[in-house]
């Protein structure tokens, strides 16, 4: 059962007790969130079962197709900013031809997964948290528990699959658009021809750059869905609690995406 008993504590005796309790609650929350992730992952074999495949399809559609618009704009401008910013500096040394490499490698390794992760955390993650939170406070999760319909299988698994599959795919799309955006800026603002740009872009980029980026995107997908479901299922006290769950989801996902992104890069490029 996902429905949990409320924890009610006496007010802390002093500031140390409050800090200690904060730390314990944070550890407890992390443990609960990881258990949710494992529980939902254990349900993925039911992916294609008659009972679940419609929900999986709907979530794939919602995450993948519905996010395309905003992801496109973010991707294009990320590439354009990278090209412009770096190109203006490089031009001083007559090196503007190298913006192709710079944009391509930054997009693949860092900016592609990072920007896609942030956009999805803010749009899809917050929506999942709000929906799960509303369902929790309206007793809908309790109703599923009582009908022995496992919310991890029925609700979380389709979202987990959708994000774990779609975030890497969206990242590929972001990368392509970003590199393309860089090419436009190169051609129109910096006088770098399209041939020179793409030639330079693909000469120095490695397959490893792409794979590391996609691995990051996959991790970001797990982070967003886990944080959103954990916060949503833990919502209390009506609309206020739903708002709190949504806000925390965005904040915690952003922080984790930043920190995890850094450590993955460090792990693969040292």
């Amino acid at each position: 059962m996902i429905t949990r008993e409320p924890h009610i504590f006496d007010p802390p005796a002093n500031v140390f007790a409050a800090a200690g309790r904060g730390i314990i609650m944070a550890c407890q929350g992390t443990g609960q969130a990881l258990l949710l992730l494992l529980g939902a992952a254990a349900q993925t074999p039911h992916l294609f079962s008659r009972k679940n495949r419609d929900d999986v399809m709907r979530q794939l559609y919602l995450v993948g197709i519905k996010s395309l618009g905003v992801v496109s704009v973010v991707a294009l401008f990320t590439g354009m900013i990278l090209a412009l910013q770096a190109g203006l500096e490089l031009r001083r040394y007559g090196q503007e031809n190298n913006i192709g490499t710079l944009v391509c490698v930054s997009m693949l390794r860092e900016m592609g997964p990072f920007m896609t992760g942030l956009v999805i955390a803010a749009s899809v993650g917050s929506a999942i948290a709000a929906q799960m939170g509303t369902m929790t406070v309206a007793e809908e999760i309790a109703a599923l528990d009582v009908m022995s319909i496992n919310p991890l299988r029925y609700l979380m698994m389709p979202r987990l699959v959708a994000l774990a599959v779609m975030l890497p795919l969206l990242t590929v799309y972001t990368n392509l658009l970003g590199i393309f955006g860089g090419a436009i800026v190169g051609a129109t603002q910096l006088g770098v021809s399209l041939e020179a740009y793409f030639d330079n872009a693909f000469r120095y980029a490695e397959n490893k750059d792409l794979y590391v980026g996609l691995f990051k995107a996959f991790l970001f997908g797990l982070i967003v869905v886990t944080v959103a479901c954990h916060q949503g299922f833990a919502a209390t006290e009506g609309a206020v609690g739903v708002g709190r769950a949504t806000r925390r989801t965005v904040i915690v996902s952003f922080l984790l995406i930043l920190v995890v992104g850094y450590f993955v890069t460090r792990m693969f490029y040292q």
């Binding site: 059962m1 429905t3 008993e5 409320p6 009610i8 504590f9 006496d10 009972k51 369902m135 309206a138 007793e139 809908e140 309790a142 109703a143 528990d145 009582v146 009908m147 022995s148 319909i149 029925y154």
Partner: protein, 254 residues
């Protein structure tokens, strides 16, 4: 069928249930009344493990609910149908799919049969032809009745009702009461109803219990309940201007 053994439940410093003990027989309609915040919903939630007691035990048949887990808990919960206070329908499914949900997810029956059973239950609660509306597009009273159809679609032995008539207009309220009574008479289900509507309580109940400060101050068949001299019960009866069973029957046109 359902037995509470010295069940105590506290939230922080507040003791909501205080050593509550009672037993509900098979085929009974047991009604718990009390002011709002008395702990009626809390007592109901103990029967289905949404809450566990701080002390004492809750039995369903021969199984202790608060100690069961896994498959055993699933089997115990399978005996229940629950109508939640707000209906607890899933917003993205239409009315028909909501009613079909427990069978689709938990049984291996063919879809045609599931839809037939759902239509049957929707007709029973007086909601024919609204199957393709979404929960947003129907009134609160209809949502509650859809919730009831979903609760009974698995043909449970025990049905729990949390405030089945609150927020409904009097006509629909009386319809729901008649339905609860019918389910007992025709199918012999055991019901537990939580309400603050005394007309409803006295009409459907085979026994009515008044929850006050964590205990039942009176627990008796309706005729005895209205005649009770307990001051809390008298206040409650007076507040809803009920002097005897005659008033109740009159409200139901009998």
């Amino acid at each position: 069928m359902i037995r509470f053994e010295n069940v105590t439940k506290r939230f922080g410093a507040k003791t909501v249930l205080d050593g509550l003990s009672f037993e509900i027989e098979k085929g009974e309609t047991f009604v718990v009344v009390g002011t709002s915040g008395a702990g009626k919903s809390v007592s109901l939630r103990h029967m289905i493990r949404l809450l566990t007691p701080d002390a004492g035990r809750v039995w369903v048949g021969d199984d202790c609910v608060n100690e069961a887990g896994g498959k055993k808990l699933e089997r115990i919960l399978g005996r229940f149908g629950v109508l939640f206070q707000s209906g607890a329908l899933l917003q993205w499914l239409n009315v028909e799919d909501n009613v079909c949900l427990p069978l689709r997810q938990k049984s291996k029956r063919p879809d045609g049969e599931i839809r037939r059973l759902a239509a049957e239950k929707l007709a029973l609660v007086g909601l024919e032809g609204v199957g393709d509306k979404t929960p947003d597009n129907i009134s609160g009273g209809m949502r509650k009745r859809v919730g009831l159809a979903r609760a009974i679609v698995t043909e449970p032995e025990i049905i729990l009702y949390d405030e089945p008539t609150s927020g409904l207009d009097p006509v629909i309220s009386r319809q729901i009461d008649l339905l609860i009574d019918d389910l007992r008479k025709k199918l012999g289900v055991t019901s537990v109803v939580v309400t603050h509507d005394l007309y409803s309580a006295l009409y459907v109940g085979t026994r009515v219990a008044m929850l006050h400060e964590g205990k039942f101050v009176v627990c008796a068949p309706p005729e005895e309940f209205v005649a009770s001299e307990h001051p809390i019960v008298r206040d409650f009866l007076q507040a809803q201007s009920i002097a005897d069973m005659h008033d109740v029957r009159k409200a139901f046109g009998k």
